[in-house]
Symmetry: C2
Subunit: 258 residues, 2 copies
DNA sequence: TCCTCGGTAATGTACGTACATTTAATCTAA
DNA sequence: TTAGATTAAATGTACGTACATTACCGAGGA
């Protein structure tokens, strides 16, 4: 609970101390059932309701908490804040939008160790990883080569899944309850090697996006992914302004095979 | 001024009515000199200071207003809302961060007409455009080829500017008062042509980003830009989460010449 | 069984007060 | 003239109160 008293002299305002304490408790899952009301918190921490409201203000604004009149306030489930995430989402949404059939050819699905990838996931070099390698097709033509590594102790239930038509993230969530909530990616422009060109079925004059992605769930590194996307069939489209920042857009991002 | 009294019975809370009135006055430019303090507003509209604070809260959060302790609050000039914008900003910030000298070789700076570009800017095909073509260097090595078209009636004052060391946007703002506030860009992965490779000084196995950008100011299309960036020296790095959305990051995005 | 009517609990709104902290301008004295 | 002290003005923090509004649930009646 809120053992140590809030300090009223310290450099930090009461409401921010309270906010931080609450964040800790939220992340610990203490409030997964029900979040206490403003009055209850004011009582527990011996501060005024206004101070509690100030503490909750940002948490509500950023979606961590959901509170409505008359209702029991609650901690937002990760699912409720889920949004389209990342350049790859943008890619597959574009395929969807273009009305193209979307399926994959699974080239590898096994358990293996890879020291380089393990390190990226903050794991021991010998840790077994589930490895999935697919060629992704839009319509009948190859669009991307996609390779994913997940910790095997988490992802083993995926070993017998059929990834020709199902999405990795959907299957991961269905079978393990885990969902990506954060990630970083690095996008490069490259010239595919001959082997890659063969897989993608494209000529020498076609560039490609090389996208590396580190996905995390609840602060834990869950996924390393590398995707090579044909540059002649896909463009990243973005929109930005001072107010809204940078936002990926899906419209018109996909081209037919030339 | 705030003639009509706020209605205390209506469906809308006092603070929202106040917020809307203030927005109207802000947009009319009434507060361009100085924005009144909370107490002054409370007095003028006969509401409590808390109500005024609630009304101002969102305006401050979204950057419309700037208020700090002790200071005269003010309406944010368009410039102050300016944020790092777009993949190109990300590129040049990365150069800056790497401590590399940044300059350009100006290959063209003239007035010309281009029907294709004019159409993108929603202009007549024969409308004269200012055209600037530069090779941008980081350190001593070419990093990108940058071509910009601006409507000549706006950008003519830039004709005698020296773009070896000054930025287009800075110069545009200084000489015309116009500043980009919104834009769309499309990013492709391509293989540079032989001519482009010569300009960029890179080999056959190097890919490139092809970035097209349409920049607007106050809803008017101001700029069409095309930039070709060496893929071996630059990567787009992004971070995303359900909370924050998609955000470009500059750290570590730039590599030295291999 | 269903439905209405309260009661309860939660947030929303709005008022009030007091004092702390920061900044900028002004005044004063060396 | 300049450095320092004072003052005014602004927001920040924190407390208090009261009542309105909404959602849920349970009890009692038709």
């Amino acid at each position: 609970m809120g053992e140590a008293e809030l300090v009223r002299t310290g450099g930090q305002p009461l409401w921010r101390q309270l906010q931080q304490r609450l964040l800790v408790r939220i992340r610990a899952g203490e409030f997964d059932g029900a979040f206490p009301g403003e009055l209850a918190l004011a009582d527990e921490y011996s501060v005024s309701r206004q101070t509690v409201r100030q503490a909750l203000r940002e948490l509500r604004a950023d979606g961590t908490l959901i509170a409505e009149r008359g209702r029991q306030p609650r901690v937002a489930a990760a699912a409720e804040i889920q949004q389209p995430l990342g350049a790859l989402y943008s890619l597959f949404a574009a395929v969807e939008e273009a009305g193209l059939d979307q399926h994959s050819v699974v080239r590898r699905l096994d358990i293996r160790a890879d020291a380089v990838v393990a390190e990226r996931l903050s794991l021991e070099g010998s840790t077994p990883l589930l490895y999935l390698e697919r060629v992704r097709l839009a319509g009948n033509d190859p669009l991307a080569v996609d390779r994913v590594w997940l910790p095997a102790d988490l992802a083993r239930p995926l070993l017998d899944a059929d990834f020709q038509h199902t999405s990795l993230y959907g299957e991961l969530h269905r079978r393990t309850g885990v969902r990506l909530d954060h990630g970083e990616e690095q996008i490069r422009a490259v010239v595919p090697t001959r082997a890659e060109r063969a897989l993608l079925g494209c000529g020498e004059t076609v560039g490609a996006f090389s996208i590396g992605r580190l996905g995390t769930s609840a602060g834990k590194r869950i996924e390393w992914r590398h995707t090579l996307v044909r540059g002649d069939r896909f463009a990243l489209t973005a929109e930005f302004s001072g107010r809204t920042g940078y936002r990926l857009v899906t419209t018109g991002a996909l081209a037919g095979t030339r």
